[in-house]
């Protein structure tokens, strides 16, 4: 009789654990509409793949709360405020872009909610005015490194002597990357013949391109997102300019080739990962993504997947599912094996990682080389 009651007791204990896992709310901020919606979609899809994997073995039941930031800083801040004050999430994944992540990171930092962005590459996301935002982390490299790699690649591999830069003056990501590219390019004896800016809603680039065309630069660096890049690239080719186009991780969308067509073929960009790279974790993630959504995930999706898993692992290790305890565990993250490579945080909460260079060919993106920091 004693034995049976003991077993019953165990069963009861076990069943409470099995059937009523504690619910933990996690927020995702990403652009599901607007100029970079394909990024937002792949981020969301990858976030859910990570959650599904976690559901099988994790300690808690995750309640995801998705917010659309439309790639707009105001929308993003409002969404974050709602997640923090109304939904009371314990941690946030996102936002996707630097220009949204910078104001949101300020907000979560003052509200003491940990945030991991997969993809915001501007240095100001984790550090502003020399001060580290304690609650903010990212799973990607930062723009000074990306700009440097792009500039060195242009000088050494493309044998470029002159370059023009076209960037969005209202976008921290675009502006930062443009400046880092310029610095490295000039330091290594290259000449920047034009450093021109435009505004977010501009569609007419004819004046700027005519201006650049008379200088005939070897490369044109366009650190912006695929939509704008496709539009600019088309107008560049229509003006008969043959310079090689170069860009950053904002180019990584199948839409670029779809909208840009021949105008973007033969261009290069720096990126976080290439699906061609052989790696068991990446392959299993790509496999799952392909099965569910029918296409290969972009780097932004893979990074969101990694960011989500870093958070989930920290959550499982934490003694209590509270923001403070989770933060402690995120800080301890070391050699996290993710789809985009091994991730450890440096003192600023930035991931130390390598970057890959990808060429756009008629059939799609092609892996060229990997550059280590």
């Amino acid at each position: 009789m004693k034995k049976i009651s003991l077993i019953l007791c165990f069963l009861l204990l076990y069943s409470t654990q099995l059937f009523s896992k504690e619910v933990v709310k996690i927020g995702l901020i990403t652009p599901l509409t607007g100029d970079i919606k394909t990024f937002g979609e792949s981020t969301k899809n990858s976030f859910f793949i990570a959650l599904e994997e976690y559901a099988k073995k994790g300690k808690y039941e995750i309640k995801p709360i998705i917010a659309d930031d439309k790639n707009d800083p105001t929308e993003g801040t409002n969404a974050a405020l709602k997640l923090v004050t109304q939904d009371k999430v314990v941690a946030i994944i996102g936002p996707l872009t630097s220009k949204v992540a910078i104001p949101v990171s300020e907000l979560v930092n003052t509200n003491k909610i940990p945030m991991i962005t997969g993809t915001a590459t501007n240095p100001k996301v984790t550090v502003s005015d020399g001060k580290r935002k304690k609650y903010v982390f990212r799973a990607c490299f930062i723009d000074p490194f990306q700009g440097q790699v792009a500039a060195n690649f242009a000088l050494k591999d493309l044998k470029a002597k002159t370059a023009a830069v076209l960037y969005d003056v209202g976008n921290d990501y675009s502006k930062g990357l443009a400046e880092f590219f310029k610095n490295t390019f000039e330091k290594n004896k290259g000449t920047i013949v034009a450093f021109e800016s435009y505004q977010k809603d501009d569609v007419d680039f004819s004046a700027l391109i005519t201006k650049i065309a008379i200088k005939k630069p070897d490369v044109i660096f366009i650190p912006d997102y695929y939509n704008k890049v496709a539009l600019i690239a088309k107008q560049i080719r229509e003006k008969g300019l043959k310079s090689t186009l170069l860009g950053g991780d904002g180019w990584d969308s199948p839409e670029l080739l779809k909208i840009g067509g021949d105008a973007v073929v033969g261009s290069y960009f720096t990126n976080h990962y290439s699906p061609d790279r052989k790696d068991p974790i990446a392959d299993s993630f790509i496999q799952k993504y392909k099965q569910k959504h029918g296409n290969v995930p972009d780097a932004l999706g893979a990074l969101a997947y990694d960011a989500t898993w870093i958070l989930l692992n920290a959550l499982d290790r934490a003694v209590k599912p509270t923001p403070e305890e989770i933060l402690k565990e995120i800080e301890k993250t070391k050699n996290h094996k993710g789809a985009t490579g091994t991730i450890s945080f440096d003192n600023n909460g930035d991931a130390v990682k390598s970057t890959v260079i990808i060429k756009i060919e008629k059939t799609g993106p092609k892996y060229i080389t990997t550059v280590n920091p």
Partner: protein, 296 residues
């Protein structure tokens, strides 16, 4: 010589942009002439023109002349409907109500159409109905998009001229813009004239939308806002209510935009346009062709 070629090339860019502004500005100016109201929903008719031609190309594969005709016809009908539904009930209301209604119609169109069930809020690549071709004439190059924009604009302006100065409707319209009440007393159905004015303005904005998205091939539901404001400035610059003033204003705005981008920086571009507007409002509030008599 280099600089001369450069100037010419930039001038062509400016005329291309100015032509579209001129087409939109005409709608503002004609409606103002007749109703003394600023139709802030006009920029959204321009956006509708872009989307209608987008569907005309992708869904129905229309040949270019038919595309222009159907786009302008549809935008004309939409403009007339907007007038009938939103503005006509306010014919005797204070002018400020009309103005606020126009802002409301504009927001209604933008945000309703940005729903996923309609156009979605996303940026869409605009497929050109034909391949782009560049021609080198002497030292500078011009492409077929430029040529089409110039010729379509010139044809539209010529037709508009014939309509306004040679047809009975045009005479009635000019009379209405002179004095709506007296025109009504003369036995002219002013409601029809007002609809007619909105229709013409809508058709021109629709053509503008088509040409604009051909030149800068990306469309979005909010694309009408800035061109709308700039064309409005163009209409004020030329003297609001004056038709040739709107055309000249459009070209001035387009060309100065391009030249500011070319010689200063595109960051200053919109600023300079608004400074031009300020200067005009301070020293010549009636515009270039405006008479100096204040009309109440």
């Amino acid at each position: 010589m280099e600089i001369l070629i450069y100037l010419t090339q930039q001038f062509i860019n400016g005329i291309q942009l100015g032509a579209v502004y001129a087409l939109i500005a005409l709608g503002y100016t004609m409606v103002y002439g007749v109703l003394r109201m600023i139709n802030f929903a006009h920029g959204d008719i321009f956006m509708l023109g872009a989307f209608i031609s987008y569907y005309g190309i992708t869904k129905f594969n229309l040949p270019f002349p038919i595309l222009i005709l159907s786009t302008s016809l549809l935008t004309a009908v939409i403009a007339i409907l907007i007038e009938k539904i939103a503005y006509k009930p306010l014919r005797n209301a204070p002018k400020i109500s009309l103005l606020i209604t126009a802002v409301g119609v504009s927001l209604f169109l933008e945000y309703t159409l940005s729903l996923n069930a309609f156009f979605t809020p996303n940026y869409i690549g605009f497929p050109r109905p034909f391949e782009i071709r560049s021609y080198d004439i002497g030292m500078f190059s011009i492409n077929n998009i430029h040529l089409i924009i110039f010729s379509v604009t010139i044809i539209s302006l010529a037709l508009l001229y014939l309509l306004i100065y040679k047809s009975k409707y045009g005479i009635a319209m000019r009379a209405a813009s002179h004095d709506l009440e007296i025109t009504r007393l003369m036995g002219i159905r002013t409601d029809n004239i007002i609809s007619f004015t909105f229709g013409i303005g809508g058709a021109l904005a629709g053509i503008g939308g088509l040409l604009y998205s051909m030149a800068y091939p990306q469309i979005n539901v909010f694309m009408g806002i800035m061109p709308g404001i700039k064309s409005f400035i163009a209409a004020v610059l030329g003297g609001i209510g004056i038709i040739h003033g709107a055309v000249l204003g459009g070209f001035i705005i387009g060309i100065s935009e391009v030249f500011v981008s070319a010689f200063l920086s595109s960051t200053y571009r919109d600023g300079v346009i608004f400074i031009i507007l300020f200067i005009f409002l301070l020293f010549r509030p009636n515009g270039i062709f405006g008479k100096n008599i204040e009309k109440v």
